[in-house]
């Protein structure tokens, strides 16, 4: 696969390390009476759709940036590649 890095242009996917569902960005914060269930859901209930999926890729053999790649899991078409910060901003704006 080729991933269009927002700063570095087209890069081969072998330069990246895959992590998974971009929902991992939204880790709950522990407070005084945190329910373990929130952490359970965060850790174990990941989205795994057949189709459009926002996922985390780390450009390990490159600039070390964590990116959010929007990929169609049925045909590997890459619809969007963003820096994590930009993704979080637009996610929160929604």
């Amino acid at each position: 696969m080729i991933i269009q890095h927002p700063d570095l242009g087209p890069r081969d996917s072998s330069e990246f390390v895959y992590k998974g569902d971009a929902e991992l960005l939204f880790r709950p914060k522990r407070t005084e009476n945190t329910d373990q269930k929130i952490f359970h859901d965060y850790l174990y209930l990941r989205n795994n759709p057949a189709g459009k999926h926002c996922e985390l890729w780390y450009h390990e053999y490159g600039d070390r940036s964590w990116l959010v790649v929007t990929r169609d899991t049925t045909n590997h078409e890459i619809l969007k590649v963003e820096h994590v910060e930009d993704y979080i901003k637009s996610y929160k704006a929604k």
Binding site: R30, Y58, E77, I78
Partner: protein, 977 residues
């Protein structure tokens, strides 16, 4: 008389010597191995996979199912090589495969007479009972009989390489449509790559007698190739098979540099290319299919177009009494060309009753089928369905054409059935791929050129290239009309898949037994498996399935084609990554010094580390390791620990960041101090441990374990960029920039005082346990000093810029002589950490928690850190949870074994009674007996209790006493001294 007098793309003046089954033969330059064999009148070249039936050369291309040979001998040998794809070279040695006895008298032919018992799925039915027979009786027999060729079992002497190419347009196949498309693209200035599996570019033009623009098609081919060669933006790649189509315009290709594996041993024999393209055109043509009748697998039976090409391209006369069996117009082209070349064509049988024969000067039978072929090692006659017998020694068969569309399916494209030409055609090829010509189901040459021009103009325009002029091509017209598949199923031994010996009967049986879907049918009968992947057989098999199930072909569907298109040698995938280059290795900064000190090295991840340093006279590794431990513990030792991951952490929020990533508190770590840190995963399982030193308010230096250096850094970047993007934290890996040495033992301080800048006070008061500081050593080398101890001794770790490391280790060893300084390796390091009860990789195995490790109290209860919430899960904190403790054998002469499981004395050794396992063991030279660390239920409350350490692999049970994990200096007085 097996060759014509003239014609063809062979050099009749250049004779090449080769041998087949020990017999010396002669071929010509330009031959393939198969054309050279046929040129010697040899049709019988192998035995079939299951029934050991005699098989001949069936095709002239890479789809060949039968003519698989063992090429070359000894370490150069290669099995299952398709004779149709090897360019003949002088001295070639080939042997037939898969027979016990000679090729013409194969003992295993008996399988053919037993075929009633060896039908589809016989493995699953026959070898079921008795159970114990499987390993001892059935498997050895099957293994002996299975497979075709043999491996040399020696290292491959050839070199393989890998390469990367980029282009605007990738043209796959250099036949008429491919070359024409390439020419159009080349003239626009686009960067073009043309690949073709053949060693001569031209595709079908090499084997056809067509007229182009009023001249020979080979003349036109010559003009096109010379123009293409003149372009700097074009790369022509013959001998290159495109084996796979991958995502985003990436393709895999195998280029054969040497057909002879003994040529140029110092240069790569094959190159595996990864080609990045903006767009690709698939111009792979079509593959002929056979017709089903009894004994349709006899040597001497060959596909019609292949036979025509053998005659036209290689001047081969395939038989003395040739007959042709067809259901389409292409069979007549073969008749015409063979006759023109002077072959004796005795008859053409066309299944179609109502056609107007295109040539008249030939005996023909219309509207008939062949019922059966006869012959022993070669066809001798055929019987028609009206009972008529025709004597023939060679039969060309044409059952129509299948577009060669495999590469359109590698990304799940599914072809659709074309009712006009009775074949599957591409339906949804990958994005940025266009299919042109016969590969797209267009069988008329004139239309193929038109198709190329229209599509290329559009593709190039979309890629942003200018329009260029291209001359029209006038080519002789050929009609292609094919009859549909018959609605009845032929009886007798009728071969669908020649390579896997799948018959019509097998397919019937499979469906009868419930394997209706094509995918199940494939697995149950092996139809379409192995080196040819059913290029001839698949559609024939589907036609039978369609009749049995009474469903149209479209509904029957096809199996999914996957890469590789044709076999790719494992050596090509490995490339240069073999032997010591299997993976990259990293050398520690003291490697050369260690080597000159006789070190034995061990692989630790990618690192090569000194394992121990044997002295003259030491006979076993234990002698060396024991000496290194004792000398370190009585005097002083030095060990290269550069391999630990080192991460520089800076920024206003660095303290908060460490608090977040470590389970224990770091925010209040004073400047000039080091602290042990335990990292958890967010699910509460222990991830890694190490130390972190604070050099200033906003500057920390972290160490990780060697094994997790990369993953911890990745995790920290995740914690920073993804979980705390607003924090001011900067990370950089400095593992390779700082050389680090552990200096341990009672005399370590005295030794370091000698090399430190005299202005720096490292006395116990000024530089106590867990102190750190930036100093300089050996007259000005900047260094970082940490008073930390993995060995349990008074110990330091000193880091210096890597470039000084070789000088440093030489200097300190010289100065250290008066303190009896000893270099120690990873074994002594391991022994000392086990003596101290420190956890390492064996204990942090991805299943254990801080609680298991006995570090539960360290985990922060207050702030939010990675893993603390989930580490509080009830299940992980049960009363009878595992605890890391030490073990001593009751009989001190016994050696403990890592991996042993603990069972209560008197209980049966089974999983139910399992109480934990031994994770690390060592012989303690200080205690003079074996010691171990391990996890056992409630271990910390059971000191003194005796249990069994059971090792079922060696059927060994050792009684052990549960002990504190701290065997040596349990109070830790030494390291604080």
């Amino acid at each position: 008389m097996y060759r014509t007098k003239t014609g063809g793309l062979i050099n009749r003046k250049k004779v090449l010597n080769f041998s087949f089954n020990g017999k010396n033969l002669k071929g010509l330059e330009g031959d393939t191995l198969s054309s050279a064999l046929l040129g010697n009148g040899i049709h019988l070249v192998g035995r079939s996979f299951k029934y050991h039936r005699p098989r001949g050369i069936f095709t002239s291309g890479s789809e060949e199912p039968s003519a698989l040979v063992q090429l070359d001998e000894k370490k150069f040998t290669e099995p299952n090589i398709r004779a149709t794809t090897v360019k003949l070279f002088d001295g070639l040695v080939a042997n037939s495969q898969n027979h016990f006895g000679s090729l013409s008298w194969d003992f295993m032919r008996i399988n053919d007479y037993l075929s009633n018992f060896l039908s589809a799925g016989f493995y699953y039915k026959t070898f079921m009972w008795p159970k114990a027979f499987w390993e001892k009786v059935y498997e050895p027999i099957i293994r002996n009989a299975a497979g075709l060729g043999k491996l040399s079992k020696e290292p491959d002497p050839s070199i393989y390489d890998k390469g990367f190419l980029h282009c605007d347009l990738l043209v796959i196949g250099a036949g008429p449509s491919g070359l024409y498309s390439a020419l159009i693209a080349a003239r626009t200035g686009a960067k073009v790559i043309i690949v073709d599996e053949d060693f001569t570019l031209g595709g079908s033009l090499n084997g056809e007698k067509l007229e182009i623009n009023g001249g020979l098609c080979t003349d036109w081919l010559g003009t096109i190739l010379s123009e293409l060669t003149s372009f700097k933006n074009v790369r022509l790649m013959p001998k290159t098979t495109l084996y796979g189509s991958f995502d985003h315009g990436i393709y895999g290709a195998l280029e054969i540099r040497n057909y002879n594996s003994r040529d140029n041993l110092k240069k790569p024999r094959h190159i595996l290319w990864k080609i990045y393209s903006k767009f690709s055109v698939l111009c792979t043509g079509a593959l002929e299919r056979s017709i089903l009748f009894e004994n349709n697998d006899l040597p001497g039976i060959m596909l019609s177009k292949s036979m025509r090409h053998y005659c036209n391209r290689w001047g081969v006369i395939p038989g003395q009494h040739i007959s042709i069996y067809t259901n389409n117009d292409d069979g007549w082209e073969t008749a015409k060309d063979l006759k023109e070349a002077g072959c004796n064509v005795i008859c053409i049988i066309d299944q179609r009753p109502d056609i107007n024969p295109p040539i008249k000067n030939i005996d023909y039978v219309l509207g008939r089928k062949i019922a059966k072929a006869y012959g022993n090692l070669r066809i001798s006659s055929i019987k028609l369905d009206n009972g008529k017998i025709i004597k023939t020694d060679c039969l060309a068969v044409s059952g129509g054409f299948n577009p060669n569309l495999h590469l359109t399916c590698h990304q799940r494209g599914r072809p659709k059935w074309d009712e006009l030409n009775h074949c599957f055609i591409p339906n949804n090829p990958p994005k940025n791929m266009s299919v042109i010509g016969a590969a797209n189901g267009i069988f008329n040459y004139q239309d193929i050129f038109k198709d190329s021009k229209i599509k290329l103009t559009k593709i190039l325009q979309n890629l942003g290239h200018k329009k260029v002029s291209i001359e029209e091509v006038k080519i002789s017209n050929r009609v292609y009309k094919v009859s549909p598949f018959p609605k009845n199923i032929p009886e007798g031994k009728v071969w669908v898949d020649l390579q896997n010996d799948v018959t019509v009967k097998d397919i019937k049986l499979a469906v009868h037994e419930g394997f209706h879907s094509v995918e199940l049918l494939k697995r149950y009968t092996t139809l379409g498996m192995a080196t040819d992947q059913g290029k001839n057989s698949n559609v024939l098999g589907l036609s039978i399935l369609s009749v049995i199930k009474n469903k149209p072909m479209d509904e029957v569907g096809t199996t999914i084609f996957r890469p590789p298109f044709t076999p790719v040698p494992i050596g090509a995938f490995a490339g240069r990554s073999r032997g010591k280059h299997f993976k990259p290795f990293r050398l520690t900064p003291s490697h050369n010094w260690a080597k000159s000190n006789n070190a034995v090295f061990v692989e630790a991840g990618n690192w090569l580390r000194a394992q121990w340093f044997p002295l003259k006279g030491e006979k076993t590794w234990r002698e060396s390791v024991d000496r290194e431990v004792i000398q370190t513990r009585t005097n002083v030792g030095i060990c290269d620990v550069t391999t630990l991951g080192k991460i520089d952490i800076k920024g206003k929020d660095a303290g908060a960041f460490l608090n977040f990533v470590y389970a224990n508190n770091f925010g209040k770590l004073p400047i000039g101090k080091v602290r042990y840190g335990l990292m958890l995963r967010d699910d509460g399982i222990a991830f890694d441990d190490g130390t972190t030193a604070r050099f200033s308010e906003n500057h920390f230096v972290m160490t990780t374990t060697t094994a997790n250096a990369v993953t911890v850094f990745r995790h920290l970047e995740f914690c920073k960029q993804c979980l705390n993007p607003d924090w001011d934290v900067h990370l950089i890996s400095t593992t390779d920039h700082w050389a680090q040495f552990a200096v341990a033992g009672p005399k370590s301080r005295k030794l370091l005082q000698e090399i430190c800048d005299p202005k720096i006070d490292i006395s116990n008061d000024k530089f106590p346990f867990m102190a750190c500081g930036e100093i300089n050593v050996l007259k000005g080398i900047p260094a970082r000093l940490f008073r930390i101890s993995f060995s349990g001794e008074l110990a330091y770790e000193i880091a210096i810029p890597r470039r000084y490391a070789d000088f440093f280790i030489k200097e300190i060893s010289e100065i250290g002589k008066k303190y009896n300084l000893v270099p120690y390796g990873t074994e002594a390091l391991g022994v000392m950490r086990i003596e101290k009860g420190h956890a390492a990789g064996n204990e942090l195995n991805g299943q254990t928690t801080a609680n298991n490790l006995g570090l539960g109290k360290m985990v922060s209860k207050l702030n939010d850190c990675i893993g603390n919430t989930m580490s509080e899960r009830e299940e992980l904190n049960k009363e009878n949870t595992l605890k890391l403790v030490g073990f001593i054998p009751t009989n001190k002469n016994q050696s403990l074994v890592a991996g042993s499981h603990f069972i209560e004395k008197g209980q049966t050794e089974n999983l139910e009674n399992d109480q934990g396992w031994m994770s690390s063991v060592a012989f303690s030279p200080m205690l003079k007996h074996s010691i171990g660390l391990g996890y056992i239920i409630r271990g910390n409350q059971r000191y003194g209790e005796k249990v069994h350490a059971v090792n079922p692999l060696r059927k060994e049970i050792i009684e052990v006493e549960i002990h504190s994990p701290h065997f040596y200096d349990p109070e830790g007085e030494l390291l604080r001294g």
